[in-house]
Amino acid sequence: MIPALLFMLGIGAVCGIVLSLSSKVFYVYEDPRIALVENNLAAANCGGCGHAGCSAAAQAVVSGLAKPSVCVISNQEGVEAVAKIMGVDAGAAESLLSYNMCEGGNRADDKFHYMGVSSCKAMAAVYGGKRVCNVGCLGLGDCVKACQFNAVKLGADGYPVVDDDKCVGCGACQQACPKDIIKVTTLSEQLMKFNQEQDALAPCAQTCPAEINIPKYINQIRAGKYKEAVQTIRMRNPLPLACGRVCPHPCENDCRRGIEDEPVSINQLKRFASDFEMNSGSRIPIKCAPDTGKKVAVIGGGPAGLSCAFFLRRIGHQVDIFDAMPELGGIIRYGIPEYRLPKKVLAWEIQGILDLGIKSFTNVRFGTDFGLGSLMASGYNAVFLGIGAWEDYSLGIEGEDLDGCFKGIDFLARFSRGEKIKLGRTAAVVGGGNSAIDCVRTLLRLGLEKVYIVYRRTRNEMPANEVEIVASEEEGIEFIFLAAPTKVIADDKGKVAQLEYLKMELGEPDASGRRRPVPIEGSETLLDVEMVISAIGQSPDASFKKQDTLPRMADLELTRWNTIDNDPAILQSSIPYIFTGGDSATGPALVVDAIGSGRRAARSIDLFLKGEKVEPVENSLQKKRIPESIFTKVPGVQKSARSKMPEIPVAQRLDSMIEVDLVLPEDAALKEAQRCLNCCRICYNPDTGFPMAGTS
């Protein structure tokens, strides 16, 4: 007994001494934070996070390979404690959720038959899988097997469906998937996702400058889930009410149904869903990521600025908007007339954005009332410059400054602000774009007897939206095509009396492929009008650059069109902390372009605020299309008429500024949603009911 005790004591002592000595001798410096972090993990060694136990996870956190939210069991307090140890923003503690990216599933055709394979991994090894779509879901459910929380199920359509309530964001499904179909992302990552070449995208979603997931929201409308549809739209577009009314919907040009039939009325469906929210009387709550403590100044409250502010706020940054005008909205408030976009609707929409916790300061002009210096002194970490393009080009002809001559945007803005403008009885509007049409239709509503549009090319070349041209034709606008103004002639009181123009004819096609208008010698013609409005385009008003006294301002480079020089992929200006977007970056463009660029700038600003390198999106699909997704014929489509947008009869429109275009009634919207082929990259639902893949 005694020797045994002595022996065990001795051997224990030897082991203990050797170990304690060797821990001194073989001491290796280890970041003390690893132990601290490990103490705050769940200590279950479950491996759910994908690391080999809690200490490995702690090491990954400290070396920056994992986020503080790595632990799948840990609660919010634990995550915050880890974030505190690491000294990073608790914003990183945003919860991860799994999302499926493919909606093709079983619809995609088989390229070959191969029996006996039970896993996606094995199937992917055989020529990339049996389905024709080389990015789509293989449908054998490796993600389902990988999920330890029973959150992923293979839906009836042959692609995985994730149950958000059960998902803990461990990432096992993403690792198991050989095809990048299932992604584990935070809300911020989803909001800042841009179309990439390898994504499963329908042609419409590729075309939309705001990159809205169009098939998804149409599908939700079809299922009667209007609120979910609005949420889908708001992932990409904070102004669906405005866009639903004024967007020229480039998406519809690429609609697959449009190849065989009339395209789906996508924009009307967007308007239907967003009007449904507005008319329902309650706002759908908008989720935001936790606060990051970073502050951004957005200069200009137009569509670009609102979009940038909205997305920055949703990913957790603090945003203040500054605008020179009395109210937010920019060109869509002051440049788009009431009959196209009622101010009440716009105000409701903007209030929803401000309700996220965005402060706005109006009636303050950048360069005059405040400058870059005062913004920096107030602690803003970055600036978004979205001042729009408000300076009308002048015609450069004699008599342009006479009493009775106006400039397009200036005229519309003054009218919108409620200024009294002395009108004539007849007017000529020079230009063929949307502002010109807005001017003529507004003038008509103001009671003018005769309104002309004077355009130097023909109707086919007019850049205005087709619906707008048709509406103004219906309302009785007279178009004078192939006419270039040369002189404004005054009467004896110095007021506008006549517009002289030169007739043109179409000559040889120019570089843009359009036939160039050539003046006909000696064809001067006089048009009796009392007002002349030139609406031939705008450029940004860059006077702030001279007015701002901060020497740094000299570094801001402008292009020769007065737009702010930037890299279109990241929208960063020549001053690293100033980002831009919308018309001030590109010159006059669509509202939806401005919205898209606002979000793109928000992504760059977010990277900049995190101290990361501001780099373009990898394999970005910006302004490109996936070639295999663009078809020339679409088998299986049966012609069905597009739902007609209801509008107020011409007789009732002209004596007021009442909104002309009406929203689709619910049954028509549902019918229209049925017309959608629910396309993905190459598959779609044909009307004939047979799941089949398209042929390109």
């Binding site: 020797p3 045994a4 022996f7 065990m8 051997i11 224990g12 082991c15 050797v18 170990l19 060797s22 821990s23 001798v25 073989f26 001491y27 290796v28 080999a52 136990g53 490995a56 006996g116 394979v117 039970s118 896993s119 991994k121 094995a122 090894a125």
Partner: protein, 191 residues
């Protein structure tokens, strides 16, 4: 020399620690899902088993036998092996970081591995000399690694096959292990 070779062959194939003696089944099933982990585990076992086999042999001959304390063999072996593994881990971390990174997480797993304990006890039971104990420890470890890597290869393939639901994962793993053990029985009578 010839005897040692025969001893090694018998330890690796005929008396394979995993497939003939059925020791160390936990890491056999636990670390064999991926080839990568199986290789790491095999290397760690070779390393630890040789050291443990030798040190326990010395302990047994010069302390336990000398003082007639053989009945304390099991408990003292556990203590010594555990301390040894800890010591080796610290030593590697400081001196050979490359090897530490490779064996990494597998070293502490072996602290309480019955295959290691089993080989140490076999060495004593068979009354091997020091050199024989060294050869047998090494050979048993190689046998362990061989079986584990073979098994991991088979399991990676099985992952891609159609397995009836009730038999998936560990169940089919055990069935497979049984069949591999049967094939190893064919080495009987080789020596």
């Amino acid at each position: 020399m010839g005897d040692l070779f025969v001893l090694a062959i018998s330890c690796i194939f005929i008396n394979n620690i995993l497939l003939a003696q059925f020791l160390g089944n936990c890491p056999f099933l636990g670390t064999s899902k991926k080839m990568e982990t199986a290789v790491g585990m095999a290397m760690a076992v070779v390393f630890v088993l040789v050291l443990a086999g030798l040190i326990t042999w010395v302990l047994d001959i010069y302390l336990l036998k000398a003082f007639n304390l053989e009945y304390l063999r099991t408990v003292s072996f556990i203590l010594v092996i555990a301390s040894l593994v800890q010591f080796v881990e610290m030593f590697l971390k400081k001196s050979i970081p490359g090897l530490y990174a490779g064996l990494g997480i597998f070293l502490p797993l072996i602290t309480t591995n019955c295959a290691v304990m089993g080989v140490c006890l076999i060495n004593i039971k068979e009354e091997y000399t020091f050199v024989e104990a060294a050869v047998s420890s090494f050979a048993y470890a190689v046998g362990f690694g061989l079986a584990l890597i073979l098994f991991a290869g088979v399991r990676e393939r099985i992952n891609l096959a159609r397995v009836p639901k009730p038999l998936q994962d560990t169940s089919i793993g055990l069935v497979t292990a049984g069949i591999i053990a049967l094939t190893f029985m064919s080495f009987k009578g080789m020596v």
